[in-house]
């Protein structure tokens, strides 16, 4: 009877089976794939944050620089800080933690694989959310430590990391 109930549920909430291709990546719970996702995403943000750094340095190359206005400069240096801390270094270390730690101790996966996947998606969406503020013409400008608009969700990747920590 338990089996019958199981079969019944299986038709309602069927689990995906693809292990390759786009669906395979979107639904993966494999700690190694999640680690790679973290790494690729974080490196993409590293390039974005690096471009912001170059803009800052172009502005400051000479006295009374003309490249950026004060307002844009504030947004750029805030986003540089937030990006490098929450969207680059933390998730890059998370990439290594996800990929390497289980195989260093001879385990098959994390204790809570779906929680682990959830954590990655919250991080990715948090990053996208943060950067979409540029589309609305107002990126956070209060410094990485500060009173930023959107700040709750600015730091969503942080909360995702919290789940990650519990998931460990």
């Amino acid at each position: 009877m338990a089996t019958a109930a199981m079969e019944q549920r299986a038709t309602t909430f069927r689990r995906p089976t693809a292990k390759t291709g786009l669906v395979g990546w979107l639904t993966t719970v494999d700690h190694k794939k999640i680690g790679i996702l973290y790494g690729v995403t974080a490196f993409a943000f590293f390039i974005v944050g690096g471009i912001e750094a170059l803009l800052i340095r172009l502005q400051l190359a000479t006295p009374n620089g003309q490249v950026l206005s004060a307002d844009v400069y504030n947004q750029i240096f805030t986003m540089h800080g937030v990006t490098m801390i929450f969207l680059v270094i933390m998730p890059l270390t998370a990439a290594f933690m996800n990929y390497v730690m289980p195989i260093q101790i001879g385990a098959r996966d994390m204790a809570f694989p779906r929680m682990n996947a959830f954590s990655y998606w919250v991080f990715l969406f948090g990053g996208i959310f943060l950067y979409s503020s540029f589309l609305f013409g107002q990126a956070p400008l209060g410094g990485w430590f500060g009173y930023a608009p959107n700040s709750t969700f600015t730091y969503n990747p942080g909360v995702g990391m919290d789940f990650y920590a519990i998931g460990l």
Partner: protein
């Protein structure tokens, strides 16, 4: 595997997990209060309503200082893996390195106010936090001396991961020393909000954190993708990053001590800061060039066939015992661990003088090259799931809903769109978790039931 046989990177992951667990809730509380202030007119930070003007600073830095250890400890772990492998010696003072990491984590919760010396906490608080901040240099110093001692007398192989690891040790030491100067409160009054601070935290986060991450990328790339990154390009990558990094950030120490404030978008000519800023900008572009070299290296490597051996560096820890790239189920048989650096001891035994001697070929190698998947081996792995991404997108919608809740930041109008989005977000989030819990443990595959 027992706790004191765990590799140091795993240890630092463990310590970082605790830091995250205890530091992030503080940030979450602060951010909730901030959001309630902004969206619903709460008064947590409203000084005119009697709020403490430095409450936010306290909340933020109680999170913020452990955060810097959250960022650096994993890199310390990576370096503690890379240095022994390329020195052909076990890590010097394993227990000291592990417990120093844990000590950094503990003390890290007691130093936050050194970010606030200039906020006017008073001499007693400043003295206490100055002392605790100096104390934290001790476990950090223990780590640095142990890394140097690991290399001392070892047979060094200066591969790219090793170069990045040595780069971390050198540059983090510089960043650490300038960090101790901040701990001296009167000295900090001179430095606070200048480029000296910018120089310091880039030395620890870039010169330390990112160099460790690059070391890890080069070190584990063959394990992850089955291809080695090119060593010649890797050395170009390292040296250009090393030169560019120091060119960009060392002059900032001087500009800062000469009084250049940070977070200003222009500075006047004639203050003696021009040359230092120009050098920094040049350095930033050398760093950019270095990152381009790294990306080129990745592209070239990924176009080659997967020919990396399982254990290209003659590694010490278990990840090198399995195939490259790692099979889906990680290990064909879950390894039994008898020692610290277990994989090394499976490969080598000692002769009379204590020198390592290879175990005869094949004896250490329990890998098989059969292209057999986890299912066929009867290994249970969790099935993929749609629900994590569904639940996470609910959080995203909720976020947008909260932002558009008040379209007019000064007014009291409530955005209908925001409410709808937020409600939609809650529904998606909850249904994501309902799907999650109602999901069967695995699809009936039949093969191994």
């Amino acid at each position: 595997m027992t706790l004191l046989r765990m590799p140091v990177f795993t240890w630092m992951t463990f310590v970082t997990a605790f830091l995250l667990l205890f530091a992030l809730p503080v940030l979450a509380v602060g951010l909730f209060e901030l959001t309630f202030d902004r969206l619903f007119g709460a008064n947590f930070f409203d000084v005119t309503a009697g709020a403490d003007p430095i409450l936010w600073q306290h909340l933020f830095w109680v999170f913020g200082h452990p955060e810097v250890y959250i960022m650096i400890l994993p890199s310390f772990g990576i370096v503690s893996e890379v240095l022994p492998v390329f020195s052909r010696k076990p890590l010097f003072g394993y227990a000291a390195v592990v417990f120093a990491g844990a000590a950094i984590a503990f003390i890290g919760f007691g130093v936050w106010a050194h970010h606030m010396f200039a906020a006017g906490l008073g001499p007693i608080a400043n003295t206490g936090f100055a002392l605790s901040s100096m104390v934290i240099a001790v476990p950090t110093g223990i780590k640095i001396f142990n890394w140097v001692a690991t290399m001392w007398g070892g047979r060094l192989r200066l591969t790219t991961p090793m170069l990045f690891a040595i780069g971390l040790v050198a540059q983090f030491t510089i960043g650490g020393l300038s960090g101790v100067t901040h701990a001296i409160a009167p000295h900090d009054y001179q430095q606070t909000d200048t480029y000296y601070i910018v120089a310091h935290f880039h030395y620890v986060l870039f010169g330390g954190g990112m160099f460790g991450i690059f070391a890890g990328l080069y070190y584990w790339w063959p394990k992850v993708f089955g291809r080695l990154l090119d060593e010649r390009l890797g050395k170009w990558n390292f040296w250009s990053l090393f030169v560019g990094f120091n060119l960009a950030f060392f002059p900032m120490h001087l500009a800062g001590l000469w009084g250049q404030p940070r977070r200003t978008y222009v500075y006047p000519a004639g203050m003696g800061w021009d040359l230092m800023n120009l050098l920094s900008t040049l350095g930033a572009f050398v760093i950019a060039l270095s990152v381009v070299i790294f990306l080129a290296n990745v592209v070239i490597a990924q176009r080659r066939p997967m020919d990396a051996p399982a254990d290209p560096w003659d590694g010490r820890t278990l990840e090198w015992a399995t195939d490259s790239p790692t099979p889906e189920h990680n290990f064909h048989e879950v390894p039994i661990v008898h020692a610290r650096d277990d994989w090394w001891h499976k490969k080598y035994e000692e002769d009379k003088e204590g020198r390592p001697v290879r175990v005869p070929a094949g004896a250490a190698d329990d890998r098989d090259q059969l292209e057999v998947g986890a299912r066929e081996r009867g290994i249970h792995l969790p099935d993929p799931s749609y629900w994590p991404i569904v639940a996470a997108s609910g959080v995203l919608l909720l976020g947008y809903g909260a932002v558009f809740l008040k379209p007019d930041p000064t007014g009291t109008a409530w955005g209908v769109g925001g409410i709808v989005l937020a409600a939609l977000g809650v529904i998606v989030f909850l249904s994501g978790f309902f799907g999650w819990v109602l999901e069967p443990l695995e699809e009936p595959h039949g093969s191994h039931r």
